[in-house]
């Protein structure tokens, strides 16, 4: 009997996609809230023009989330933006899951090309520093140590921001 060759449609990694979507929401709101309260973040993004947009997305057809700079703050745009001035993309779901969970830091992810960018290279250096600040506020030091090259000092203000993010900041994005 002749073998029949049929097209194969691979399954969907539902659990990992769900986790990534949840982390995108948490991270996006953390960016929004932290940029309203942290002077250093505001100083870093001051060089970006108003209305500047960036998206983080999982290649080739995974979830994505957007941010827009407004009044020198970052506004979480969820999945409203399909294209942006600057894109950070994860090569695949597995890499995104590893970085989002967070088992791997952004520097290592860039080094291993699991995470890459499309757009202005100068924006990438600024974004990396902002991401380090957000992660250092979001996660306890023993986790951050594994993720970044140098842990930013947890000042009294940043400790307060952490409490705010954990209680209302992420929930309200304020």
């Amino acid at each position: 009997m002749a073998v029949q060759y049929r097209p194969i449609v691979p399954g969907i990694k539902r659990f990992k996609i769900l986790v990534i979507k949840i982390v995108f929401i948490v991270l996006g709101r953390a960016f929004q809230s932290a940029s309203q309260h942290d002077e250093e973040i505001r100083k870093e993004i001051s060089s970006w023009r108003d209305g500047f947009t960036l998206i983080m997305k999982v290649m080739p057809d995974g979830p994505y989330m957007g941010l827009e700079k407004k009044n020198n703050m970052l506004e979480f745009k969820g999945s409203q933006l399909k294209q942006a001035d600057f894109e950070i993309y994860f090569k695949n779901v597995e890499s995104a899951f590893m970085i989002m969970t967070p088992q791997m830091g952004s520097h290592q992810a860039f080094a291993e090309r699991r995470m890459s960018i499309k757009g202005d290279l100068g924006i990438a250096t600024v974004f990396t520093r902002v991401l380090v600040i957000v992660m250092s506020v979001l996660y306890p030091e023993f986790i951050v140590k594994r993720l970044v090259k140098r842990v930013p000092p947890l000042t009294l203000k940043r400790a307060g921001l952490r409490v705010w993010l954990y209680t209302l900041g992420i929930l309200l994005g304020k």
Partner: protein
């Protein structure tokens, strides 16, 4: 130790050796090109290299579409647009870059515009913006330093907007890098030394930074060994074709290494100092290399120590205690710089290079925003950058 994951990419065909240039017409034919446009500069033309180039096409039946020999020392978008228009007018189908870093980057810029059928380079600036396979590009380096003949990057100034546009895409990789010793024989001693130290910094930084991998390491250490063996000879006896060819190979190998594993603080500081004080890139690399290594010691002492074997040889490596190898590596580089300084006057500090102390803060600020910093093992903030600059002053 192997990294948990890495990527390495180098599809550039390397053609190296005596009279390698004479293979160019047949190599172009293999690439499907019949009417190449040559991009070069006045220095290269004045040194008689364009004549050697034209001679290599003798009896090939091929027509050289046009020769543009007026690329300035800093590649600019205006020149790229001008060459693009000549390329179109003369119905050229491929590009040959005959020159150093500026000429090569200019040719890459022209290739973007002719491939994308556009007149606006800025639209394609940044990382991974390009999406089309480009026209055939052959690069014939006339300096041994930039490695641009095998890299995915180009930097072109936009004079009107007063910005430097970086381009990074695998599509920018040339098809062929052609290394002919005749092309570097006329390079003056000081420029030979500066470009060699540029190649050295590519190799050294690619070996110690976060993106290092076994493939880039192999190219990096091979480049370092060849440079250490030949650089002083190349500076003192420029007519030695064998030495020149060795240096050209080392530069290409270092280029392959850093194109796959990036560079670090030495380049970040060098780009910043170059942008603000107009120090030639190779001179800046020579100045910053030992200080950049010293800065990274706490994070990659072992890797810097391993370089001693390739810089100083097996005997020195064997008799140096493991705990002292990293410092010895730096000492050897310092000694090499001294020797080059005595031979041809290559500056070893910022003051000698004409930088004034009031510029250091501005350079430090620019350095921490340079993309080269991302793969450096140690996170450099503005205070760290300033401290390195003060030492290098």
């Amino acid at each position: 130790m192997l990294p948990s994951y890495y990527e390495f990419h180098n599809p550039v065909k390397i053609i190296s050796g005596n009279k390698a240039l004479d293979n160019l017409p047949s190599e172009l034919e293999i690439l499907g090109a019949k009417r190449p446009m040559v991009v070069t500069d006045k220095g290269v033309a004045g040194a008689g290299l364009v004549k050697i180039f034209i001679d290599s096409f003798g009896s090939s039946g091929m027509t050289i579409g046009a020769i543009f020999d007026d690329v300035p020392p800093d590649s600019s978008s205006e020149v790229v647009e001008k060459i693009t228009s000549i390329f179109r007018q003369n119905q050229c189908d491929s590009l040959v870059a005959l020159g150093g870093g500026s000429v090569i980057d200019t040719a890459k810029g022209v290739n973007i515009l002719v491939t994308e059928n556009s007149d606006d380079l800025l639209k394609f600036s940044g990382a991974e913006v390009l999406r089309k396979k480009m026209k055939p590009l052959v690069v014939i380096p006339t300096t041994s330093g930039t490695g641009s003949e095998v890299t995915v990057v180009a930097v072109i100034s936009d004079v009107k907007r007063n910005i430097k546009m970086p381009f990074a895409s695998t599509y920018l990789l040339p098809d062929i890098a052609l290394l002919d010793p005749r092309m570097t024989l006329t390079l003056p001693p000081k420029m030979t030394a500066a470009t060699a130290m540029d190649a050295m910094s590519h190799a050294v930084e690619s070996y110690i930074n976060l993106q290092k991998n076994p493939m880039s390491d192999a190219y990096a250490v091979a480049a370092i060994e060849i440079i250490c063996e030949n650089v002083l000879k190349a500076v003192s006896d420029g007519n030695n074709a064998q030495v020149r060819l060795a240096m050209a190979n080392a530069s290409t190998m270092a280029g392959i290494a850093f194109s796959n594993s990036m560079v670090g603080v030495v380049h970040a500081l060098g780009h910043a100092a170059g942008g603000i004080c107009h120090i030639p890139h190779g001179v800046a690399m020579n100045i910053f290399l030992p200080f950049g290594l010293e800065y990274n010691l706490p994070k990659c002492r072992e890797n810097i120590g391993k370089l001693l074997l390739h810089i100083a040889g097996d005997e020195v490596y064997a008799r140096t205690p493991e705990s002292r190898r990293a410092e010895q590596t730096i000492n050897y580089i310092v000694e090499l710089r001294k020797a080059l300084n005595e031979l041809c006057g290559l500056p070893i500090n910022l003051k000698q290079a004409g930088v004034t102390e009031d510029k250091l803060s501005e350079i430090a600020q620019a350095a921490i925003n340079d993309p080269s910093i991302v793969m450096n093992p140690r996170e450099m903030d503005v205070n760290d950058a300033l401290a390195i600059l003060k030492k290098a002053f």
